[in-house]
Amino acid sequence: MQDNAHIASVFDRDLEGVQASIMKMGGLVETAIADAAKALDRRDTELADAVRKNDKLIDALEETVSADVARIIAKRSPAAGDLRTVLTVLKISANLERIGDYAKNLAKRTSVLSEMPAVEGAGGSIRRMTKNVGLMLKDSLDAYIQRDVDLAEDVRQRDAEVDQMYNALFREFLTHMMEDPRNITACMHLHFIAKNIERMGDHVTSISEQVIYLVTGEMPDDERTKEDRTPYATAPDEA
């Protein structure tokens, strides 16, 4: 990346503007994750409703980013670092929009779950998992601002922990459901929530990879260790 300015200063302002939109989106998504987790934890349906409503702001920002990027490409024919900037901005905004959707889904399920008896032990695990993903998102956005490849790589590696947490929850939910079929409805919702948080982690990982591409010009190609074994599980002890 370059510190020196473009000869056409409007180009600088355009690039700064679209990156500012990304940071604004990032802030809204961080809040959405934290609030969705809090609402679930405290059975706070009002806060859950607020998360669902605020997702519209995130969606609107994604559209702004797409339109701005299209305009920059059409008018400026960006090359090299500028090109990577607009490409990564576009992908990161799509990742953030998806994470926002998952947070919204969490909030939706909160209103159902708040009507049911709590599933023992699940609250704490989901809280920890959400906190992890929230921190990863914060770090990936910091890595973006600082153009920090090491931090981005660190975030990428941390996704394995989230996968492990999801595996553990998957086993727990299976156990609860087998013990008492009355747990099935709640556990199904909780399982979707856990899965959605795990997916958030994947999108955060993708943001980190975009940071690495932005700085180095290359996508990281070494395989990360995948810790999600649930696709092959038929019983709690296999996951």
Partner: protein
């Protein structure tokens, strides 16, 4: 693109009197490919281009040192006849410059003086083939006897390319061939350049970064007489190594 090197330059320096215009340039230009030279005005890209067919010989104060080889042969060797060299290494200039003669004569002139046709039939064939390759035959075939200067700018430039092709060169040097043309004529010339690379080694100097990105397989960035960076065009325009290259192609103050 073949993998062969058509032109190899090593340690080339050019001086205009006391001015050191090209500083120790090494470059290998691929056969049957388009190579573009980019860089700010005065960076030496045109000067270097002109070394490849010894156009600088015509400038008294200009001195070229170092080694430039065309298929292994030193083009500055005293046994090399610059006129013969220029038949092998053709040139197209910034402003279309047809001779003040008919369209036919513009193209036929080179083959005639180089004795490439033994009779009128053969000469007719060369003219038609050259104008077809220059993608202008259909537009001029019914008015070959009319002056070349009467054509539009874009047609004149394609006529000049046809004229350059007529002597059956191996290399085509183009110095800003589209800078005097409108976008449509530019697109036609660019399309033509892409077709020409099947048969020729093309080296193009251009101020349009997008043109370099569009037409060439390799790009060389010159700055203050130095060859700063040279490589695959795709890489240069997505991930240049040198910060000076990045500054230039992204339109920054270097």
């Amino acid at each position: 693109m073949s993998d062969e090197i058509k032109i190899a330059a090593k340690g080339v320096d050019v001086f205009y009197g006391d001015t050191h215009a090209i500083k120790s340039v090494d470059v290998e230009i691929d056969d049957k490919a388009v190579t573009s030279f980019i860089g700010p005005s005065g960076c030496g890209k045109s000067t270097f281009l002109r070394c490849i067919n010894r156009m600088n010989d015509t400038i008294d104060v200009c001195r070229v040192t170092g080694d430039i080889r065309l298929e292994g042969q030193d083009i500055y060797d005293k046994d090399v006849d610059p006129v013969q060299l220029r038949a092998r290494v053709g040139m197209v200039f910034q402003k279309p410059n047809p001779f003040p003669k008919s369209i036919y004569e513009n193209v036929a002139y080179g083959p005639k003086i180089h004795g490439l046709a033994k009779d009128k039939t053969e000469l007719d064939e060369i003219v038609e083939k050259s104008l077809r390759r220059a993608a202008i035959w259909d537009e001029v075939k019914d008015r070959l006897d009319q002056p070349g200067t009467g054509l539009s700018g874009g047609q004149q430039q394609r006529l000049c390319i046809g004229r350059a092709i007529a002597t059956a060169p191996e290399v085509l040097l183009m110095d800003e061939p589209c800078s005097a043309l409108d976008p449509i004529a530019t697109a036609q010339v660019e399309e033509l350049i892409d077709e020409l690379r099947a048969s020729y080694t093309v080296v193009i100097v251009t101020h349009s970064m997008q043109q370099a990105a569009r037409v060439s397989q390799k790009t060389a960035f010159f700055h203050l007489g130095e060859l700063v960076e040279y490589g695959e065009t795709d890489r240069i325009f997505t991930n240049p190594v040198d910060s000076r290259t990045e500054s230039y192609i992204t339109g920054r103050i270097g």
